[in-house]
């Protein structure tokens, strides 16, 4: 394929050799390094392809071998250009085209955002617009590092951003924080703070539950395994008492609590689904509209205006591009409106059960992704007249606790009564147990 293209660009001739010693002609060509291809014997003569430069060297060979050469066909770009040499507009157009491609390639014509799950492309594009990053801006004005910093600054849950330019395309790849963002952010934040100011951070229960297991890395455990805790109870305290020889509290060491606490809790589940649904019965008519836009100029053909009360609209959009990365400012749209009559229909019991079960299974899967283990499940489906419900509770083992700044305990007041209570614990646990 490539060699053919090269042959076409360089140009070649199809010639016929006739005479007495045609084989000698072939050998002479070979000897002089003239490349021949597509050799074919045709009734006592040979037909073959030869390059233009090769053809120019043929004269002495023809004289020596006494053969006769006829040119059958001239192919390739040089001959094509020569044939149309008088068409000045054609050449002007070709040059203009090359110039246009060159000129267009200096701008961004497509912004591609990948990796966003909780935010739509449009939201991010709107944000970029406020930072004057938009389609049609000059490539030289794009500052990828600036874009990365801006996005990181604006959105806390985006933990990684990469911006790069490929062709006429600005590619922004992001990674969102898939863990529960609030807790980890708080912890990180809190840890940073303690390094500087050393203010204690507790872990408090974010749900009423029974504690199943607790691994404390930092802080003092305030509850026991098997204990029932309520929402808001302190599970791990960030203030570890320091005792003197008499077992009295003389002060508190401040820590940022860090622990894995698993609790058994009950989650209520309720989901409902209407017994009826609306089915669209389409009319045979259909309105179509096609649009084409060049930069900001937009041409539309047809229309989707209609007098029907209900209609469904479908849309499709595309952008002109060369290969993968060379986008051009030419877009096309097609929109289609199909009117319909809404008809109310009734789900049968099996369908309702299927819908509710599917939703419940998805809910369970989401829970499992968050590290929640389901132990018991008594969710049942109740079919009503207009509406059906899936109701019940789930017993689960789940990670419990969220970070919260401690309420500081005062040493002198606590000294007398607290010293006895916490003395044993404080001796054995210096807040860094493993």
């Amino acid at each position: 394929m490539l060699s053919r293209l090269i042959c076409y660009i360089k140009g070649y001739l199809r010639i016929r050799i006739a005479g007495y010693s045609t084989e000698r002609f072939l050998n002479a060509c070979r000897h002089r390094g003239i490349y021949l291809w597509g050799l074919q014997a045709v009734s006592g003569a040979y037909e073959m392809n030869i390059s233009i430069s090769g053809f120019r060297k043929l004269k002495p060979i023809i004289r020596k071998t006494g053969t006769k050469v006829t040119v059958l066909k001239k192919s390739g770009l040089p001959f094509y250009l020569f044939r149309y040499r008088k068409r000045k507009l054609f050449f002007a157009g070709a040059f203009f085209f090359v110039f246009l491609i060159f000129f267009m390639s200096r701008y961004i014509w497509n912004i591609d955002i990948a990796g966003n799950k909780s935010r739509t492309d449009e939201t991010l594009l709107e944000f970029l617009e406020t930072k004057s990053v938009r389609n049609g801006m000059a490539k030289s004005k794009v500052n990828c590092q600036r874009i990365v910093k801006d996005i990181r600054k604006e959105y806390d849950d985006i933990i990684w951003v990469s911006a790069s330019i490929r062709g006429t395309r600005l590619i922004i790849q992001i990674k969102e924080n898939e863990d529960s963002p609030a807790v980890s952010e708080d912890k990180e934040h809190a840890q940073e703070e303690t390094k500087e100011a050393a203010s204690p951070v507790d872990i408090v229960a974010d749900k009423s539950c029974t504690i199943v297991s607790a691994i404390v890395r930092n802080g003092l455990l305030q509850t026991k395994i098997g204990a029932k805790v309520k929402k808001g109870d302190v599970l791990v305290s960030g203030q570890v008492p320091v005792n003197n020889d008499a077992g009295e509290v003389t002060g508190y060491q401040y820590h940022v609590s860090d622990a894995d606490i698993i609790g058994k809790a009950k989650l209520k589940y309720k989901d409902s689904c209407s017994n009826t649904y609306i089915e669209k019965e389409n009319f045979d008519v259909c309105k179509k509209q096609y649009s084409l836009s060049l930069g900001n100029i937009r041409f539309s053909f047809g229309g989707i205006k209609n007098d029907y009360e209900h209609f469904t609209m479908y849309g499709e959009q595309g952008q002109l591009k060369f290969f993968d990365n060379f986008y051009l400012p030419v877009c096309w749209w097609s929109r289609e409106a199909i009117p319909y009559t809404p008809r109310k229909k009734q789900h049968d019991t099996a369908e309702i059960q299927q819908i509710l079960t599917e939703r419940f299974v998805r809910y369970c899967e989401d829970l499992e992704k968050k590290g929640v283990e389901i132990i018991e499940n008594d969710v049942k489906i109740y079919t009503g007249q207009d509406e059906s419900e899936a109701k019940g509770s789930l017993t689960v083992r789940m990670p419990i606790g969220k970070a919260k700044a401690s309420r500081l305990l005062e040493v002198p007041k606590q000294k007398e009564d607290k010293g006895e209570k916490t003395g044993d614990e404080a001796d054995g646990n210096d807040g860094n147990s493993h």
């Binding site: 072939l26 070979r30 021949l36 291809w37 597509g38 050799l39 014997a41 073959m48």
Partner: protein, 104 residues
């Protein structure tokens, strides 16, 4: 009766042959003998040849260092013809070595 030249050529041949066997160099390089590569019955690559003696669409005779190679077939075409290599396409029926000396 063998001419002196033929005898000496064969000696040289055998000496070179031994040399190539000892040094494990490819024989087509050391001896300059033709190398033919076939793909099915439709493609034939020939290296180390001296020239074409005859070419029609059913017979190609090729001159090599030690003699001739006759290729018989139908619709024989030469795809390319360069100093080092030529490629014959078409329906190849037979390849025959003519006039090559047979070692004793």
């Amino acid at each position: 009766m063998k001419t002196k030249r033929q005898v000496s050529a064969r000696e040289e041949h055998s000496l070179k042959n031994r040399l190539s066997e000892l040094s494990e160099l490819p024989k087509d390089v050391v001896l300059g003998i033709p190398m033919l590569t076939m793909v099915g019955q439709m493609e034939l690559n020939i290296e180390n040849y001296r020239g074409i003696i005859e070419y029609t669409d059913c017979l190609i005779r090729i001159h090599t260092k030690d003699g001739q190679i006759r290729i018989c077939g139908k619709n024989l075409k030469v795809d390319y013809y360069t100093n080092d290599e030529m490629k014959v396409t078409g329906h190849i029926i037979s390849i025959e070595y003519v006039g090559l000396s047979v070692p004793d």
